[in-house]
Symmetry: D2
Subunit: 319 residues, 4 copies
């Protein structure tokens, strides 16, 4: 290969820039050219592609968001869109593509690979929900953002003897809620992976009060229900007043943590290596403390399993 | 005086602990005893009062919330409640009281003063809305919390070319929205002090897009309307999609900034001095860069005026 | 005037970018062109000057350092250097210049003004040591950086029952040490403005230990002596082991606080107004809570006075 | 077992409190009593031991340092000291002990185990240098503290076109320098595990300048040499001026990251389980993404190996 491209797609996540930097510089290190595709698959279709030098990705490792921008692109799901994209890449002389994003982005990468254009998937999403990797880029930063928010909320909760409900991201995966709940010392965690018992939860709240706890914190993943909905439920069932904090979009932003920068760097570099070795259709990940690459289809067919031992431990420690 | 008390009341704000520490240690420095009243006026009525030594307020200057706790107390608004409170203070040998809180808390302090029990008001609220002082304890910390949130949101807004609405606290006062809007580089700021023109706002949004801005940020104080309500309005009027972030309770918490710690220290110390000089019914503040004390009734009768020059400047710079 | 320039000079300070943004956009708002001069007076001499549009200063309000870069320039102190600079500015069509920096930078601005080229000084330095203004841009951010460092050090100091010496910036002005000392709950503060009594300091340390304090923190401004030097002195005099932390360059960097962004915005905007009104040789400042402009020579001839009431209060509260 | 103890020893590290909380609550969950030993082995000898209830470890998961304090203790290295310690523990009814600390602390734990008093080691040190575990509690927080400092320094380095040397902790292990170097985008990393070539380093610096890099950052682990020493060397060899930042003690403090809180919780809980299953002389760790326990002697006899792939990658990406 002489020239490859890199794009970011789907929701942005902190550390994507570290991955972009690694793809560009690792490529240059191996003597090939690297081009950035702007605004995801949309930019691929439109030929919004520019060659990047080592200096172009300087001073971005510490930035949140993605310097290559991201966008939704319905057109790319069509045959026509994909053919346009391949045409654009041929025009630019690209022979391979690194796609940084979530599993939706992987599907696009797989489609291109199947059309003979080799793509590699790099897991970039705060949800940590891509099968085949223990961690995704952005999860650690989002988690620490949630933890800082909980720490702030606890100040008020303690001062006023209140129960707080904190709604965090996670439509299908409870990783963020689980880790944040354990690290934030939450009394109760509600995740999509586990059914909840509202009576048991209320019982737990009341016992905590009885033994003199000045505050209770409940973490709920958005995939279970909204924070305000939960507050209404608790009010109705037990006449307990709670306060709700919906963390929302702040969870996506911010300067990446050291770990997400390292992960982004490792993953981006490995993606280039795999591509240069001829390996289209592979996804990069961290598995049992090792950087690995695996068949990208595993990311669609396998299931992501949250670490339920955190759930159990969290309950035991929240007594 | 030989013994005084200190309490925190109303919503907690970062820096209250610095003020408590200052009251306690300044009192001890002047050879008097100081007692902490726990859970605000509720604790005063119930006699939840403990003597505090210098060491008891060690290592709290950096903590958010209030170590003396806070609570709402309807009973204290009654004659009976106030008489009980005075009885408790007499029992404890208190001869004066420093009340740290917002203007609601000041009313209680004034009531006690009028009953012959001298109280001093120290402005502790993140809203910065107490007449007679340029700054209240907690405003600077809350402002920086909002700014950090906006910085995070901007990462995503830029990456995805989106318009974000950020709802901040401020029922009657727009200070937080004003300062955050200017410091956060927001395109539009909606505050209770100023009527808004929805058409002008939309026009501004569209012009920004036309000249290639990758994102727009609108700050709305909760007193104007909710963020989601504003999003609906914009959608309806101009079919522009926006994302909403309701910052909520995180604005109250967190380790106080240097400024709020200094303000708390200066105000707490001055409160003790004024009390020792026989001055019940006074409020402490910062006016034109000087620590001042003034008639507490001014805090009810005068009006707080947000600095509208920030509003004008913000508009000029958001072109 | 139809076109003005803006440069940053001397040590960088957080908030300089907010000031640059304000100069550029306020200028454009008033219908004039604005050019950025890169690398301070060096760039002025070399003609490293580029026109800036509103979009060129987008997304910089939250960045530390200075996007216009800074540099030392001995040549500019010479007649020849200054004449070259004026020539370059004439070539570019500049009719006025906003100089953001410390008092050294002001001298250059005054020299140009005296040569008939009107300049305005905007106070940008973390030292807060420019006469005529209560605050300089960058001071608040540096102060909070110091406070965060002290908070971290206190964790260890408390855990190990240790005495820590923290050396902060401040060759001639003790503002940073004073504010940080009060906000950080330091036992002792050593500043250039006040002679110190080593015996009294040691006595204070020992008394603190006797009454059970788990840690002591001493803040020393670099202008008094180095932290390691002080540690040696204490060891020699009283055989007390201390740990030293020299905060160094981290004090200059970081995303500016809300206050420094607002200050930068207000000052930059005022500078443009004064320049457009024909006022060369003026400096901008904040005096008694008002944005002011004053004769720039005052910044050389008057003295900056640190607020010694903080010093006194800090001692009283550190009992 | 009916009662166990927990202590922290050696240098404090963020997340130790999460581990203490986990030991106490997991113990209570299993129906046994837990006592905190204050000030490490010193407190063990002196009988500074107090029973802890679930509420006693509330609100500490987010605190830096260690609530149980730490101290050096030469006496504990003697036969006599260890016998005293065992006597005290018998007096208190303790049947097992969890020791949270570095490998020095493990030696004490092993000594007690060999005397028939079962101890479990939990790895708490920012150095990440304990054989048998991929991560120690505190490493992630220290790493992020270093990264934040580097980000601040880069602002100034970029603004002034300077080369900075950042000295980080690590006497024998380069983990902190390695991870920080990769995550911080440093040009050069000097670690104890790898010999350095001063000429190659200078060559790299000069090439970076030639290709227009505005700044260079060199990370040096204290075990290689001091930052100032390195600056002198570079000055002498190549007449290049550098600035030095010695991060020092701030690396030990601060609120723990989410990861360190989770690690502390997992490790503390596992320690209790192993102790209850009769397993003295075991150490807890994270190996290949699994919580494990292993023979504590491995922590002395095996070698800790830093991940040198980070070193290689860092060089490749710093082109």
């Amino acid at each position: 290969m002489k020239k490859i491209g890199v794009l970011t797609s789907g929701g942005d996540s902190p550390g994507m820039n570290a991955a972009v930097r690694a793809v560009v510089r690792k490529g240059i290190y191996h003597g090939i050219e690297v081009a950035g595709v702007y605004s995801g698959y949309q930019g691929l279709i439109e030929g919004n592609i520019k060659r990047l030098e080592a200096g172009d990705v300087g001073d971005i490792i510490q930035r949140g968001g993605t310097k290559l921008y991201s966008a939704r692109c319905d057109e790319f799901r069509t045959n026509e869109g994909q053919l346009k994209a391949i045409e654009q890449m041929k025009k630019e002389g690209l022979e391979g593509l690194v796609v940084i994003g979530g599993d939706g982005s992987y599907r696009g990468a797989m489609a291109l690979t199947e059309r003979g254009f080799p793509c590699i998937g790099v897991p970039g999403t705060i949800d940590n929900d891509i099968p085949g990797t223990d961690y995704t880029i952005g999860f650690d930063t989002a988690l620490n953002t949630v933890i800082e928010a909980i720490d702030k909320i606890r100040d008020t909760a303690t001062s006023h003897e209140r129960t707080f409900i904190v709604e965090v991201m996670g439509r299908d995966a409870g990783d963020l809620a689980l880790w944040a709940g354990l690290a934030g010392g939450a009394e109760t965690i509600l995740i999509p992976e586990e059914s909840y018992d509202i009576d048991e939860m209320i019982d737990r709240l009341q016992k905590g009060r009885d033994r003199g706890k000045r505050h209770s914190i409940i973490i709920v993943a958005e995939g279970v229900m909204g924070g305000n909905e939960l507050a209404d439920l608790i009010k109705e069932k037990a006449d307990i007043e709670t306060r709700v904090s919906v963390l929302g979009h702040i969870q996506r932003g911010g300067s990446p943590t050291a770990r997400d920068r390292v992960l982004g760097s490792l993953f981006g570099a490995r993606a280039v290596e795999v591509l240069l070795n001829g390996g289209g259709g592979r996804a990069i990940g961290m598995k049992n403390h090792q950087v690995v690459d695996y068949d990208m289809t595993e990311a669609f067919t396998a299931e992501h399993n949250a670490d339920m031992s955190l759930y159990t431990l969290s309950k035991e420690l929240a007594i």
